[in-house]
Symmetry: C2
Subunit: 495 residues, 2 copies
């Protein structure tokens, strides 16, 4: 078209921080989401797919009093005549939309409302290596249940989910902690100022990274970090810092022992004791359901989320080692977490509604299963490619593909320009095809087809001596009516 | 928090034109997408999930030379210091992103590239009843295949897909037409001016709505439409209009007859004859694969898309009648369509790349299956609800739910405030629960549980006389260890 000539060609690029997912990356993820949804559904959770777009007002973090409320979210203003259209934004998580949905439909939804949601969320943040501005979340939340039975249930459901997607028992542990116990510890310490409490919380969040000694320094005078920079401390005395460290390190040989240590750490604090009672109740409920401490265990060193959540928190860790790009062995680490947060819909309705949820890091879990070789084989297998030797006999080739597909075998006819047969085999190679089917004029006349084992062929080409090559042919001639049987036999042989 | 008090409460509402999907609406759709993906995959198509966000430049319809390129798409400008950030937008379909992805990765992707994509797209249009600004598309395209074998394959795949998702043979037909034949007709008519050709194309697109007589009027002097408004015609003479009508009405008793009539309509036009040859080839290829005209048929009255596509076009229609809200019977109509478009990536690379695709209207297809009662039963069934008679025995109730789930039965414990038992049964009712399980102190002592058939109970309450009520109890007492067996028996009885 004439117009095209005047304009420079657009760049064919994803926007910065976004990416595309191809083939098995997509199908493996959707299969995992389907498995997870199956578990959630069996537990009585209902699916919810809220709109990807929310009003900025409902999302709540960003207000239309600035020109572009574009911090953290992708937002835009509805066009209207006077430039006063509503501000809208892409959701940045699945919890804020749940709050809006629950507030909007609270008279129609059952209470408690158990819902799960899976889908992309968007963050307007600076992209970095492995850090994208669109990624999947996979959440289950129970809204309107004050009982810690709901928290226990989420822990159990998380353990079940991990096993269903392919993490065997022994390769994971769900660790449970409680924000209330920490609040008790802060009470015992006499920390009532918001600033100092917040500083202690921030420090605790670094426990995973800097360990016991690091937290001790950071609660006190400060610490020289790995880069040589000096990080100011909270300024507590050693004696003051002690209860925090006692709390963080109170994991004992069994749950009873841990709870006992926590009792010491919280002293007389009412909220602390309440928190310990809750942990004890969770442990009892789980034990009664057959979830022993080998799968779900009380562990006060779980700190992630302690700043955000208001009650029980938990985290699922994979306990096996993987080898990273640099050949170093390391624990795989956290793949899911959750906890109780009790002011979900208050912004909308003024009412406090208790809620507790779990969120699974689907992409991390997929990476773990790939690292262990537990997924990736079947999904990556290409189709059987029926090559085209004679373009006038396309119907014959299509009929072969139909037969193969009817037998449940993934198959396609080569649909590019068939002139150069080498290109067809190159195509099959690029598709990761296990088998190519060939029927030229001579074969047609003789009523046979050639079936080429491309996996074996590639192996032989790589490794075999001439002798072996002769002994292990990678191409077979079979009668046309044995096409499906032979293809199946070869596929089974390839495993 | 103090801040909350100062601000008015936000409205809990979806943005205008957006909606949420609940429970079975979500699971039925994802199950259908899974089934469709299964067929596409078996045909050799690879999944692609491109980012939801594209640069406005790559999307192509909208250029950053206006302040807000916000027509038709949701767009925003990346924040940067100088207000010169890139414009980005939500994808409005799955084809424009395919063009970008193919252009971006053309050296790594196989050619032909068969890909399928499923996901939401966004349109910044005025919302209306049943017309949303976010909806699903479900596409399969073959990029880089010039052969009409690719078009035939897409028709066959569409027929297979409809059967797999639950539309039996006989309840659908895929109708095939070809833009080239229409071009031949326009050539024969001597219409070479772009304006007049465009006017004829627009008129043809109304054939579905106004029929043969209407198109005749619109090609000529004009027409009084149903609202009483006069629509200007294209201004052709009756003789000039005749070939168009001959083309549109050339469907005969069989494909051969149709092709014969088309031959008359295109006369000597080379492009017209080429188009007919392509249709004949498609019909032959499909016949050889077992797709007779009862499933896929040449039908020149298919006009949707003739303006957009460049070669073969096709449309899948459901042929059964449904009863609309007003009790009128009507054909269900179109649920999918597609065709060939040959300048997919030219904008990016300058090269013309042939492509052909199919798009399934998943939400319409779901509506059709619901209208026929073919989906909706299982997915809508709520969980078995284990009620809480004694909140100190939560572990007992959880253990029951665990047993039921282990037997594959959807089950949950009531997690709201258990004080008022009536609320628990109301909850079960709202959840559409088939069964409630009850174990009070007396039952616990006697080692039994009460199992309440809620479906039967509701029926009895509605219809039964007292006699029937006595004969058909809806509540059973069974030993605790027969819980799972009895629940399963009742569920099976409920069908």
């Amino acid at each position: 078209m004439a117009k095209d000539k005047k304009q420079p060609r657009p760049k064919a690029e994803t926007p910065k921080g976004f990416r595309d997912y191809f083939g098995a990356e997509v199908t493996e993820r959707s299969e995992m989401l389907r498995q997870i949804a199956g578990v959630y559904h069996r537990y009585g959770f209902e699916a919810l797919e809220s709109s990807a777009v929310e009003t900025v007002e409902a999302l709540g973090k960003f207000l239309p009093d600035v020109d572009r409320p574009n911090e953290g979210v992708f937002a835009w203003q509805e066009a209207d005549e006077e430039g006063k259209g509503d501000w809208m934004a892409l959701r940045y998580d699945l919890t804020a939309p749940l709050a809006r949905v629950y507030a909007q439909n609270r008279n129609d939804l059952p209470t408690p409302y158990r819902r799960y949601a899976m889908g992309p969320v968007w963050r307007n943040e600076k992209p970095g290596p492995g850090r994208f501005r669109q990624f999947y979340q996979c959440d289950a939340d129970t809204v309107g249940a004050a009982s810690v039975a709901a928290d226990a249930e989420n822990c159990a459901m998380l353990a079940d989910t991990l096993e269903v997607v392919g993490i065997p028992r022994g390769d994971y542990v769900v660790r449970v902690n409680n924000r209330k116990v920490l609040n008790g510890v802060l009470e015992v310490m006499g920390l009532t100022g918001e600033d100092q409490r917040a500083a202690v919380l921030r420090t605790i969040d670094k426990f995973d990274k800097v360990g016991e000694a690091g937290v001790r320094e950071l609660l006190g005078k400060g610490r020289l970090d790995a880069s040589g920079a000096y990080i100011d401390g909270v300024g507590l005395s050693d004696a003051q810092a002690e209860p925090v460290l006692a709390f963080l390190t109170s994991k004992a040989a069994d749950n009873a022992g841990t709870l006992l240590k926590l009792m010491v750490a919280v002293g007389e604090s009412r909220v602390g004791i309440e928190g310990i009672d809750e942990l004890a109740e969770i442990a009892d409920l789980l034990a009664a359901q057959g979830y022993g401490p080998d799968r779900i265990v009380i562990d006060p060193s779980v700190v992630r989320g302690l700043g955000y959540y208001t009650g029980p928190v938990f985290e699922a860790e994979l306990t096996f080692e993987i080898t990273d790009e640099k050949g170093r062995k390391q624990q795989f680490g956290s793949v899911a977490g959750g906890g109780r947060y009790d002011d979900l819909v208050k912004r909308f309705t003024g009412q406090e509604v208790p809620a507790t949820g779990v969120s699974i890091g689907v992409d991390r879990l997929l990476a773990a299963l790939r690292a262990k070789g537990r997924i990736g084989q079947e999904a990556a297998a290409g189709p059987v490619v029926v090559t085209v030797m004679d373009r006038d006999r396309m119907a014959d080739y299509q009929a072969m593909a139909v037969e193969l597909r009817a037998a449940g075998i993934r198959a396609e006819v080569y649909l590019g320009n068939p002139k150069n047969f080498g290109n067809q085999l190159k195509y099959a190679d690029k598709r990761n095809s296990p088998i190519a089917v060939i029927e030229g004029g001579a074969e047609k006349e003789a009523g046979v087809v050639q079936i080429k084992d491309l996996i074996l062929g590639a192996e032989i080409a790589k490794n075999a001596t001439l002798e072996e090559w002769k002994d292990r042919p990678s191409q077979y001639e079979v009668p046309r009516d044995q096409l499906v049987a032979k293809v199946r036999e070869i596929l089974e042989g390839q495993g």
